[in-house]
Structures are given as C-alpha cells and as structure tokens.
C-alpha cells in the first residue's frame, strides 16, 4: 500500500524534476520522448489509482505515514473512497490531455515547456488528493496554482494570455491566504467553523466562485488542452474536493453555491464565444456541486464532480471544432439546430429581460467593481505614496548636496 500511494505522487513529480533538469541543461529530447515521459507518468499514476482502488476495496481505506518532512510537518498520505477516484481521474485526464497535445502542439516552440508544466500540474493535483494533512495539501495546492497560471500564460508573446495568467495567479494567491490561515487555525486548535470558513475562502478563488470567478473565462486564453484539464476538469474541482475532504458543509457553502450558480448560468447565456460559455458552464456546475457539499450529499457531490470533469474536458477539447460539428449536426438534422432557452422569453417580462441581458453582458459588474473600485485605486494610492517618497528623498539629497557645495 505504501509503495502504491508514494508512486501515485512520486512518478509525476520525478518526471517533472527530470524534465526540468533536462530542459535547463539544454538536452534536446525529441517531442516523442518528452510527451511519452509525461503521458507515461500520468498513465502510471492512473494505474496506481486503480490498484489503490482494488486494495481499498479488499483492505479498506488506509493512511500512510512517511515520517516528517521537517520539524512540525508530518508527511501523511491517505487512500480512501474520496481520494482514489480523484487519483484515477487526474491520471486518466493527464494521460488523455498529454496524448491529445502531441498533435495539437506539434512543432510549437513551447512544446517541451507545456509538457513540463503538465507534469507539474498532475503531480501537484495528486499531492492534493492524496494528502493526509492540510499542511501537505497546501504544497500541492500552491504548485497546482503555479502550473495553472503558467499554462494560461503559455502563449507568452500575446498580451491576453499573459494578463489572464497573472489574474489567475493573483486570485489564487489571495484565496490561498484562506487555506494557509486554515492550517494555522487548525494548529492553534481553532473551532471547526473558523477553519471551515477559511477553507471556503480558499475555494472561492480556486473554483472560480462568486465574486472571485472573473479569472476563469480569461484562463481560456491558454492552450485548449490545458484549459480542458485545468479549468474544465481538475483545477476547479479541487475546491469542492477540499471541502469534502475536511468535512465542511452548512449554509455558507450552500449560499456560495446558490449565488454562483445563478450568476454564472445567467452570464454564461450572454457569452458569444464557446470557451467563455464553457467556462461559465463549469462555474455553474461546480456551484451546484458546492450546494450538494453544503447539504451533506457527499457521494452525489463526488459523482457529480467526476462526471462533470469528464464531460467538460471533452467539450473543451472539442471546442475548436465547434463550427465543423455544428455544420455536421445541421446536415444530419436537415434543418437549423433548434434554438434553446425559449422558456426565459415566456417566463421573464420583456423589460426585465433587457436588464438581465445587460447585467449578463457586463458579467454582473463584478469585474468592474473589483478592478475599478478596489484594485486600481489601491494600486494608484500605493504608487502615489511611492512617488511622494521619491520626491522627498530627491529633495533631501539635493538640499544636502547644495549645502555641501
């Protein structure tokens, strides 16, 4: 059992380290070798997950203690009904995305960098799902965030992906404060309610829940395969997983889910590109999972999480061929594809519909509020203070200089 659990985490992690060292020292491995290593590692990780499932069924769930990483940091891994399905899911999707990208990114200058980051992401997620303590979970959580942000900014010559990557990273870091706060609170033996609220704060950013979800549609600027695994499937699913793992439920979780589900489904209907539309659809489904978690329907939440991850990955991988698929569908039907959402027209009054459309088009004014009313004024104030300090130091130095002359 110990070897299996360690292999689940260790194989992708070692693959990442090997690739990183090779790339740094300029070892030009062929595309086939690089992708083969990562796909193989992900596949092996999935197989380990399947083996763990068998062991869990036969022997029951188990926790593996590997001693301490350093003083005050126990290394414990856990294989149970919650972690093992996620290990298998992450390994399989990592393998699928790796195989898909062999053609999708063929001869792309960043081909090796993509696989390096994919290996880091898979390793980080396996750490999150197998972690037996919150301390260890933080390690995977932060590495997954870093890998996600760098994957979004993959096409680094274009400003859009870079801005999207930075925005995602900022959101992650802000919400990570909640997770690290929860670790500290747990160490200080704070109540379950405090820890739960801090974890919920961590989930808001990672799973793109209201009001911190603005990064998700922008994250679709990254390569389609990484969008599929990160933002359609695994990355956004880590939030509900965190709550399930730590037994956090209750009205606050339900409230976040309800508000986000309503917001995201409304905004998603006004999107004009397929990837943004899928991003808001993901946000909606994750919000529904949160409602299930909040109500204590843990098994349903896990099943919903996994099925959504698989479906959404497929949709995002297929999204570049949307027009092609649409034409095929119309040819098969022999008529235009019927429009959907007519029930809104029947149920909602016309004036309200206009307002709602405007609201959805502006993405609920959430981004405008956060960026224009909170972040930009703060940045302006800080820069004004720095400029004032500059002027003061220049004046002081100049005056003294004048006296000395």
């Amino acid at each position: 059992m110990n070897a299996l659990v360690i292999a689940g985490v260790g194989v992708p992690l070692v693959t990442f380290l090997v690739l990183a060292v090779a790339l740094w020292f300029g070892l030009v491995w062929t595309e086939r070798v690089v992708s083969g290593l990562v796909v193989g590692a992900a596949a092996l990780s999935a197989l380990v997950g399947l083996a763990l499932a068998v062991v869990c069924i036969v022997e029951g769930p188990s926790a593996v203690s590997l001693g301490t990483w350093f003083a005050g940091f126990p290394l414990r891994l856990r294989a149970d009904w919650l972690s093992v399905p996620m290990v298998v899911l992450c390994g399989l999707l990592g393998c699928l995305i790796g195989a898909f990208s062999q053609r999708y990114l063929h001869r792309d200058p960043g081909y090796r960098r993509f696989y390096l980051l994919l290996a880091l992401f898979v390793a980080a997620v396996q750490v999150v799902v197998l972690a037996g303590t919150l301390d260890l979970l933080v390690v995977g959580w932060e590495l997954a965030g870093l890998a996600s942000a760098l994957l979004i900014a993959f096409f680094h010559h274009r400003p859009g992906p870079v801005a999207g990557g930075l925005r995602a990273f900022i959101t992650y870091r802000i919400s990570d404060i909640g997770l690290i706060g929860a670790v500290i609170a747990e160490h200080h033996r704070a109540g379950h309610g405090v820890v739960g609220l801090l974890l919920l704060w961590a989930v808001l950013g990672k799973s793109a829940q209201f009001p911190l979800g603005g990064w998700l549609p922008r994250a679709m600027e990254g390569p389609t395969p990484s969008s599929a695994i990160c933002y359609g499937a695994i990355s956004v699913s880590l939030g509900p997983y965190l709550l399930l793992r730590n037994g956090v439920d209750g009205p606050a979780v339900v409230a976040v889910g309800v508000v986000t589900a309503l917001y995201a489904t409304l905004v998603g209907r006004a999107q004009t590109d397929i990837k943004s539309s899928l991003a808001f659809a993901s946000m909606t489904q994750i919000a529904l999972v949160l409602i299930e978690v909040g109500l204590g329907w843990n098994v349903l939440a896990l099943v919903h999480l996994i099925t959504h991850a698989v479906l959404r990955s497929g949709q995002i991988l297929r999204s570049p061929s949307l027009l092609h698929d649409h034409h095929h569908l119309e040819q098969s039907l022999g008529a235009p594809v019927p429009t959907t959402g007519r029930h809104f027209e029947r149920l909602v009054p016309a004036r309200l519909r206009t307002w709602l459309y405007r609201f959805a088009l502006e993405r609920g004014y959430v981004d405008a509020f956060l960026v224009d009313r909170l972040v930009n004024p703060l940045v302006r104030t800080v820069n004004r203070a720095a400029a004032a300090e500059d002027r003061w130091t220049t004046t002081v130095a100049a005056n003294r200089q004048a006296v000395s002359r």
Binding site: W24, L143, A149, I180, N383, A397
Partner: protein
C-alpha cells in the same frame, strides 16, 4: 567566541579582494572574483564538516559555517552574474569578508563595529544614505556597549535603520537604484539580525515592513524598484523571525538576475516586457529565486514560510501570511512583466556560461534545501 571556520572564509574573501584589485582587465577581474567565491564556498563547505565546539572556550571550529556558506554562495552569484562594467568586485569582496567577520567574532561590540565599517565602505558620498546609515551604525555600537533596556532599544533602532525596515526605509530604493547590484547584495548579506534582541516590537515592525513593502513591490511598474521593495520585504520577514540564510541566498539570486537583465536592456519597465524565448534561463532563475522568497513549496523558503506564522502571535502570523502571498504576486508580476509580451529584436542574450555556473549552484542549493529542509537544521 571566535569561530575559525568563518574567520578562514573571511580571510579568503579579503585575499580575494586584494587579488581582484590587482587585475586590470574587467573580464579577468570577474573571473578572479568568481574563483575567489568558489574557494570561499569550498572552505565554507569544509568548515561545515569540522566539529563545532560551543563550549570550547574562545575558539570554535564550525560555528557559523553554514552562514558563511550562504554568504559565499551569494558572493558566487555576485561575482559570476555581475556585468563586466561597473561591478565593483573589490568592494563586494570586502563586504563579504566583513559579513563573514560578523560570524567569526561573536561579540556584539565587534559586530557593531564591523557593520559600521561596511557602511563606511559602501558610502559613495550620497547624503541620504549617510543620513540614515551612519546614525544607524552609531546606534548599533552604542546599543552593543550599553547594558540593559536602553541598549536593547538602541540596538533595535539600529537594526531597523540598517535593514531598511519601515519607517526607516526611504534611503533603500534610492540606494538600490544608484549602486551596483552586486554591492547592494554584499551590503545586504551581513547578518545584522544576529544582533537582534528578541522583542515583540521588532517582530511587529518586521511583519508590517514585510507586508507594506510587498504591496509596494506588487504595485511597482519598474523591475528595479520592485526589487528594492522585495528586498525590504525579505528584511522584514527576517526581522520577524524568518531564516536569514535562505533570505540572503534568494535575495542575492533575485537581485543578480535583475542586475543581469539591466545590463542587457535599457529599461526594466514592466510595461515594455521581454522575450521568454530569448532568455529562458534568466527568466526561470528570476522566478525560482523570487518564489523562494515567497515561500513556495519545493524551494528553500517554504519551510520558513510554514514555520514563521506558527511561531509568532496569531495577528502577526496573519500579517506574515498575507505578506508572503503578496510577495508571490509581486514576483509573478515581475516575471511576466519582464520576460513576456515582446519578441526579441535586439538579440538579448540568455545566461552566459559563467553566469549559468553561479545561478545553477545557487538554485541547486535552494531546490535541495527545499526538497530536504531538514538540511538547514542538520547543519
């Protein structure tokens, strides 16, 4: 107590300063400085293996050797990555010798005098620097001499000024802006924190400094200015209780990558961007050193980032956590701002073999210590 290991490393740096000073060709001088730093790293590593004798009277062999190793690694980065022109390798070597001296002579008065000496060495006539640093050095000396609470208060005030903690930080961005980066790193490498009296006030000042400086770094649009505030933020964390060993090495790496970049382009504006494809190693080095400062997993700063919030009172711990988080944002913003969004048209060069040597050694240490943080406590 006098520690032989650090004394030997300090002597290596002093001899190196003399040797480098006699070399007229700047390129040869840089090579000589790199050799000196490599020897200093080797001697530090040997000193690590010598038995430490804390009760052995006035002389101890291994004490402070790990500190000297961190300082010498920072020195290696400075020597190998500094630009050929305007690097001031002799002054940097002298400052590293002084820093090792602080570890060799473990008497507060001697340490305070050595710090004053380093301030004098660095002073280039800038009035603002003198206005802050000379009174600060004086406070340290008087504080080290005076017994009791008065001495503690003066020492604390001296440390706040020397380490550019808020509100005594105004001299530092200008200092970073107008001084060769290698000299900034060497001046920062002195373990001032060894003189630090353990007071709650200092811990609070350190945490507030870390947070405020991190916010200023994250908001800055200039790579060099952002670096200055990141160095202040690290100083704040060290004052609050983080390891100065990791801080010294990571700040040295970050500062030298920024210095190397400044030598390659005219402006370090985050709005102008750069080309990751042209300088991948330089970009990755910036990210790795920066994330180490921000306490990212698998890097040396992680264990400290994990311990520190637990070791201090809860409100201070919260401030430290937020500071580390914002530091990470500043680093990522700097990375994306300096290395993306532009296609290199001017043939910007990636790390040279000599630069690569210094960076690889320092990064390897950060990664190894990050993977096995117990090494820091083992030594």
């Amino acid at each position: 107590m006098i520690a032989l290991g650090p004394l030997a490393v300090g002597l290596v740096w002093l001899v190196g300063a003399i040797v480098v000073g006699r070399v007229t060709d700047p390129r040869q001088a840089r090579r000589a400085a790199t050799w000196t730093a490599s020897v200093a790293v080797g001697v530090s590593a040997v000193a690590l293996t010598l038995p430490e004798a804390p009760l052995g009277g006035s002389v101890s062999a291994g004490a402070g050797a790990v500190g000297c190793l961190a300082i010498s690694l920072a020195g290696l980065l400075v020597a190998a990555v500094s630009p050929v022109e305007g690097a001031a390798p002799v002054m940097a070597a002298r400052l590293f010798a002084v820093a090792c001296g602080l570890l060799a002579f473990q008497y507060a008065v001697v340490d305070a005098v050595l710090l004053a000496l380093s301030t004098y060495l660095v002073w280039s006539g800038d009035r603002l620097f003198a206005r802050y640093q000379f009174p600060g050095a004086l406070l340290l000396i008087v504080g080290a001499v005076l017994p009791g609470p008065a001495g503690t208060v003066l020492l604390a005030a001296g440390i706040v000024i020397r380490m550019a903690a808020f509100p005594a930080h105004a001299w530092f961005p200008r200092f970073v802006d107008r001084t060769p980066v290698g000299v900034v790193v060497a001046y920062q490498a002195a373990p001032v924190v060894l003189l630090e009296p353990s007071t709650v006030v200092l811990t609070v000042i350190g945490a507030i400094t870390a947070l405020t400086a991190a916010v200023f770094a994250a908001a800055s649009d200039d790579g060099r200015r952002s670096l200055a505030y990141l160095l202040i933020a690290t100083n704040g964390l060290v004052i609050a209780g983080a390891s100065w060993l990791v801080g010294t090495l990571a700040t040295a790496g970050l500062a030298m990558t920024v210095g190397a970049l400044a030598a390659r382009r005219e402006s370090l504006s985050l709005h102008e961007g750069g080309d990751f494809a042209a300088t991948p190693r330089l970009a990755v080095a910036y990210l790795v050193f920066g994330l180490s400062l921000a306490g990212f997993p698998l890097l040396a700063g992680f264990a400290e980032g994990h311990h520190l919030p637990h070791a201090v009172a809860t409100p201070i711990g919260i401030v430290v956590v937020i500071a580390l988080s914002v530091t990470g944002i500043a680093v990522m913003r700097g990375f994306l701002g300096l290395f993306t969004r532009r296609r290199a048209a001017n043939g910007e060069r990636d790390l040279t073999p000599l630069e690569n040597y210094g960076v690889v050694v320092a990064m390897a240490v950060l990664v190894v210590v990050g993977l096995a943080p117990g090494l820091l406590t083992w030594v």
